[in-house]
């Protein structure tokens, strides 16, 4: 039976078919839906871990215990989990272990576009790189088998266009289950990586890579499609699609396994075509390995004079994702396709107002950024929706690096003697992910950093996943909610306060008060994300009383997409009055609190007005 599945859904399906018992991980675009799609399958355990390192340790633990398992994360999540990744590369496993990492070429929702195929080579772990949903399904199944056959974790590397593209997938049945082991292994030389044992394991994993490379020669995921002998394209991952679409006549060597590579298969392919190119997104990862094999890649005349490395990356871009237009354009410039004068790739959007991502209408983070902008302090930010506090007109966030960085980076500025008072902002999920050690550092080493934990009761940006603060698990079980305030107190803070996130005045008053002292402090602003179903049920659009509004623009400065300029002008100032879009407004009242002329009705006033109208009609 064929069904339309996204790459993420296809991976989840195949993990279940393969008999995976445990899936753990941390949400991150574009990987999030894998665990969400896996969780409802029967007889599986799926969870959100507080961070990727914990998630991978959990999957490793299950695999040591003889149950097939996997961990999911976005590409930068593997940075967090890399300690566990390298450790399990050394030990191997008892049952199949697949590490699923989703790269984000072009950074649709990420801070960098690192190419995680490099991690595979770094850790001596085989890497599979699918091209579409069917391929993702098939390679996931293969990954579990490969893992057990060679006693190794396997890296399944996805990219945004694979994760978030849906295409038909032939569904399989669940395979016969492995018998559960009778006893947990007590194999110290394999599983206790003290130096004496680790020294013995290192040659084992080097030899393992050589054996997998030999296996790759006949691995069904690596295949040659013979067409014309003029041009041969070696490719892997999503780039395979562009090779087929742009060079329909070319012969293609499609590598489902991009590390380690099958030397003989590649030399054979290269020797039977006149020109060989490598088509791959991001790093010259396949190219590096192929050139070390001594294979000559096609080099157009005009780049002969240029430094010769990397060759293919002088044809196709190293930065950003590929697409048929990019590949076609590069192919023409390199003489691989007939020239065409009409190459225009980018859309002409000159003169149109851009539509960058913004904090949603009703976002509970907005009030804090409004206040921080007013205070004019340097704000060290973090990864989540609240990163959008940097956008005009809020313009109240000055650094964003990686998960959990805000607190440490602010502390660094404070201990370095920066004269301005630093504020760190971080969300609830990111707090649980990696801010706790950083806050311990602030409290223990006594810097004066003020941290705002913006607790919107959910992991927001990735689309509403539960976290340790929500009291629910991924598989919808009620559980004990971790309370942030007592936890922060236990970390060593005396100044800790929780306020409702929409309370503009309370936030401003507290921050101003705390800035008078030189102590570390933590403010928790608490209000559920306005897009949660429970919050949606309370949506109530507010109204502007145009008689009272004089177009002072203060409410425009809260940066809410629901507040518009009216066509009506104030007769004295000639400035446009404010107008609220009833389809967008949720009734959070931040603008109403900010308005100095009481020109925006609060919720109870709007409700009162409706009741009055009903009574009179």
């Amino acid at each position: 039976m064929k069904r339309l599945l996204s790459g993420n859904e296809a991976v989840a399906r195949a993990a279940w078919e393969a008999g995976a018992k445990v899936g753990s991980g941390y949400p991150g675009t574009p990987s999030t839906e894998i665990l969400e799609a896996f969780a409802p399958y029967p007889d599986v355990y799926a969870e959100w871990a507080p961070n990727e390192k914990v998630g991978l340790d959990v999957a490793v633990g299950a695999a040591y215990a003889g149950r097939r398992a996997f961990a999911t994360m976005k590409h930068v999540g593997l940075n967090v989990a890399s300690d566990a990744f390298f450790a399990v590369a050394m030990t191997g496993i008892e049952a199949g272990l697949v590490v699923i990492s989703a790269d984000d070429p072009s950074m649709h929702s990420s801070q960098n576009e690192q190419d995680n195929r490099q991690f595979a080579k770094f850790a001596r772990i085989p890497c599979l790189d699918p091209a579409d949903s069917q391929d993702a399904h098939d390679l996931t199944l293969a990954a579990f088998d490969l893992s057990e056959q060679f006693d190794t974790p396997v890296l399944l590397r996805l990219t945004t266009r694979v994760c978030h593209t849906s295409s038909p997938v032939e569904l399989g049945e669940q395979r016969e289950q492995r018998p559960e082991p009778e006893k947990y292994p007590r194999n110290l030389t394999k599983y206790c990586m003290v130096p004496a044992n680790a020294r013995k394991r290192h040659p084992v994993i080097e030899e393992r890579v050589a054996r997998i490379a030999a296996f790759a020669e006949t691995f069904t995921g690596n295949r040659i499609e013979w067409r014309s002998s003029d041009l041969g394209i070696i490719t892997g991952g999503v780039a395979y699609n562009y090779a087929r679409e742009v060079f329909p006549e070319a012969s293609v060597l499609k590598l489902g396994m991009v590390y380690p590579l099958p030397r003989k298969l590649i030399s054979d392919f290269a020797s039977r075509v006149q020109k060989v190119i490598v088509l791959e997104e991001l790093d010259p990862f396949i190219e590096d390995q192929i050139r070390l094999m001594g294979i000559l890649l096609y080099r157009p005349e005009e780049i002969m004079a240029e430094p010769p490395y990397p060759v293919t990356k002088q044809i196709f871009p190293i930065a950003g994702e590929l697409d048929p237009a990019v590949v076609r354009n590069s192919g023409r410039q390199a003489g691989l396709l007939p020239a065409d004068e009409n190459i225009r790739m980018a859309l002409n959007t000159a003169g149109l107002p851009v539509r960058p991502p913004v904090l949603c209408p009703g976002c509970p983070h907005r009030s804090s950024f409004y206040v921080l902008h007013k205070l004019g302090v340097p704000v060290n930010g973090d990864i989540g929706c609240y990163t959008l506090g940097m956008v005009q007109p809020l313009d109240a966030l000055h650094t964003v690096g990686c998960m959990g960085a805000s607190v440490g980076v602010a502390h660094g500025a404070a201990v370095a003697g920066d004269k301005e008072r630093h504020v760190a902002v971080i969300g609830d999920s990111t707090f649980f992910h990696s801010a706790i050690p950083a806050l311990i550092n602030v409290a223990y080493n006594r810097s004066n950093v003020i941290t705002i934990i913006m607790d919107n009761r959910v992991t927001g940006m990735t689309g509403h996943q539960d976290n340790p603060g929500t009291g629910r698990t991924l598989q919808h079980k009620e559980t004990r909610e971790i309370e942030i305030e007592p936890l922060v107190r236990a970390l060593g803070f005396d100044k800790v306060l929780t306020v409702p996130a929409y309370a503009v005045t309370a936030i401003e008053k507290t921050l101003k008060e705390w800035m008078k002292s030189d102590e570390p402090a933590v403010l928790i602003t608490r209000e559920e994300c306005a897009l949660l179903p429970s919050a949606r049920s309370r949506w109530l659009p507010l109204e502007v009383i145009s008689d009272k509004c004089n177009g002072c623009t203060l409410c425009f400065r809260v940066g809410c997409p629901a507040i518009l300029q009216s066509e009506q002008l104030d007769p004295k100032t000639n400035r446009p009055l404010a107008l609220i879009d009833p389809l967008l407004c949720t009734g959070c009242e931040i603008c109403a609190q900010v308005c100095p002329r009481d020109a925006i009705l609060f919720r109870n006033q709007v409700q009162g007005k409706t009741t009055q109208q009903e009574a009179t009609s």
Binding site: K2, L4, T29, P30, H108, S109, D132, T160, R161, H164, T165, S166, S167, P168, V238, Y240, N241, Y242, R244, E245, D323, P324, A325, R328, R344, M345, A346, L347, N348, T349, G351, L352, P353, V354, R355, P356, P357, V358, L359, C360, P361, C385, T387, L388, V391, Q392, P393, M461, G463, L531, F556, G559, P561, I563, L564, Q565, D581, L583, L584
Partner: protein, 199 residues
């Protein structure tokens, strides 16, 4: 005669139901016997940012992305987004535009005015004479729920493309929750009627 394939680009603003509309088109393509790829980008903001979805029907679809100038159909749920993405359309292709404005925050913060209708229409005309404007929100509000504007647009699309209406109905019944099915059906038909005069 059935076309060999159709490339649809769907554009709009987060929260407008672009994803549901592309899901419906993907299922429909499968029912009609095409290979299908549907690519969407989940950007950084759930509501308020630009949203695009690429949907391709064909005998064998490779790239999930439609290159510039190769979409047969552009469905824009917001008119500024229609102007922004019009060049993804093949010259002479079909543009279906929801006659509705959602002002981006940059109109307020960067002072770039929201373009007038004549500017928007002119940009579309440069690419295609086949642009259809439908008052999706107005029609949906008339039915009692502005959120079914996406169905009005799909209904209009069904009227403009010569495809079996029964197949659309089967897919709608699959994709739309039962309690909302009635109003979605009404919206779909209203959309068909809205373009009936044009075809």
């Amino acid at each position: 005669m059935r076309p060999e394939g159709i490339n649809f680009a769907l554009v709009g603003v987060g929260g407008q139901g672009t994803i549901l509309a592309s899901d419906v088109l993907a299922e429909l393509g499968l029912r009609l016997g095409y290979d299908v790829k549907k690519a969407e980008v989940h950007g950084m903001s759930q509501r308020g940012g630009s949203v695009t979805s690429h949907l391709r029907w064909g005998a064998q679809v490779f790239s999930p992305i439609i290159p510039r100038g190769e979409a047969d159909v552009l469905i824009a749920f917001e008119k500024l987004e229609a102007a922004r993405f019009i060049e993804i359309l093949k010259p002479g292709g079909l543009a279906l535009v929801n006659d509705y404005a959602i002002e981006p925050l940059t109109v307020l913060t960067a002072g770039v005015p929201y373009p007038g209708d004549e500017v928007l229409r002119e940009r579309l005309t440069q690419v295609t004479p086949h642009a259809y404007w439908v008052k999706g929100i107005e029609i949906a509000e008339g039915l009692g729920n502005a959120r079914v504007a996406n169905m009005v647009l799909l209904g209009a699309l069904s009227g403009l493309l010569d495809l079996d209406e029964d197949q659309w109905n089967v897919v709608l019944e699959q994709r739309v929750p039962a309690k909302h099915l009635n109003i979605n059906h009404q919206a779909f038909h209203a959309g068909r009627e809205a373009v009936a005069a044009a075809v």
